[in-house]
Amino acid sequence: MSEESASLVKTLRPFHVWALGVGIVLVGEYMGWNFTVAKGGILGALLAMLVAGTMYVIISLCASELGSATKLAGGPYDWARLFVGPGAAASVGLAVYMEYIALEAADAIVVASIASAIFPELQVFPITLLVIALLTFINYRGVVAALTLNFFLTMTAFIAIIMFFFATVFGVVNIHPEYLFEGAIPHGMIGLFAALQFGPWFYLGIEGAAMCAEECKHPSRAVPLGQQAGMITLLIGAAMTLYLCAVLIPTDMLGVSVYPLFEAAQNSGVFFFIAFLGLGTFLTCLASANGCVCDSSRSWFALSRDNYVSSWFSAVHPKYNTPYRAVIFTMPVAIGFAFSGFLDQVITFSIASGLLCYVMIPFSLIRFRTLFPETSSKIRPFVGPLQPYIAYLAIALALTILSTLFWGYKYNLIFAFVFYGIAYFYFSYKQKNSTAENNWVSMGWPEPRGSPKARVSKEVNGIEFGNDE
């Protein structure tokens, strides 16, 4: 099979979708979310978890509807391209790419740091390179193998949280409920608001589950089922994690902890949980980096397929049916991010990029429903509830969380706005001269409502109807 005729293989099932989404995100429950505690105490962390949870539940429903309708690999990029416009599409495509590639770099460094802590003779630099190269190779060889591996890594890490939680609830572990009151709200009401900026850590990247829609056997079942199962998993994991850490680690230490769940296990004094949560921390970082290679490569592949970046990257491997050039290209970029020396800035840029997507995904859904109001199974096999009202709520929550980045990350936010603003105008200008149009017919869809062709078709039908009369 030549590269031109090869296409992405359609073999993925709902558990692969779950593994991709939860695999990327679960690392945020093992580390990172606890910065909410430093800003707003336990009550701030709880509010951030619920506010961000509301936004992500809605984003997941939007992604389920859009992913099962379009069945394309680019996810948020393709939705913006089809329903919003080229400038927005390119900005979102880049935002998704940056979000996942920055996370991959951070995950690889953490895996290397853990390996180096266990075996001091190992150095962080070569292990980071090895992890990035190994995961790139697995993704090069095939998406099924990559996501099946992710399923086992993620499930092990999630089971570790569940067992630790129930052991704590049933009294196997001694807890300190007084920590809840002592660190409830150290910085007052403003802290509650400021804590929102780290709320996305609990769920950052779950929308990426829908990015494997083009490779699913039955996307209209696999995407909504896998995505919603993933969202519930994260909501459960987030609540369990918050409780465990809040009753086992004093608040002032929790706010600055690097591995809070592992530290909570250490404070429990039970060897089994120390070993299991340590293993969970390691595995969840690997799973996250693995999922990030998958999603960032699909976003780059989709950008390349539509000539936003060089079409050279859109080749599909004739044997493995993977977008192998886009997969391999993640490696130098991730290595560049990993050794830039500004990892915390890179991660904040990743969050800002994610929040841009969380504005554009519900907006794409609103546009989709306006352009294609039909609910036939061909166009919209999964119809999400309470739309478009909850889509507007998600946009408002994303903008509110984005605004809280002004506390401490003002320049990152300004840089992100400038970066994506330039991308928007550059790609809008570049695509203005392009004659390429969305081919709705090839998707089996009618012309969108209000398009010139749809109007002509309507007029022709009207004339024919008039003649008949």
Binding site: F181, R221, P224, A229, L235, S377
Partner: protein, 90 residues
Amino acid sequence: MSLEMTSELESKYHSKLKGDSLMILGMLALLIGVETFVIGKVLSATWEISSGFSYLYIVFVGLVVGIEAIGCLRVRDSIRNHMFEFRYYD
């Protein structure tokens, strides 16, 4: 023979749908249980401080659980409506 096969296939589909439904219901029940437990514990331990703005937590937990539950029921309906058309369980 053909009718027998169809009814066999139909019962297989309904049994698989039941499996999907049970998984969704089980996860939703666990979600509601865990959220209620954790929020209850945190708010009761901090009631002296949080009583003035506890409605924020109740509103947002209601939104999270309510929207997710309705969303999951829609997923189940969608699978039930299209399972034969798209041959989900072949």
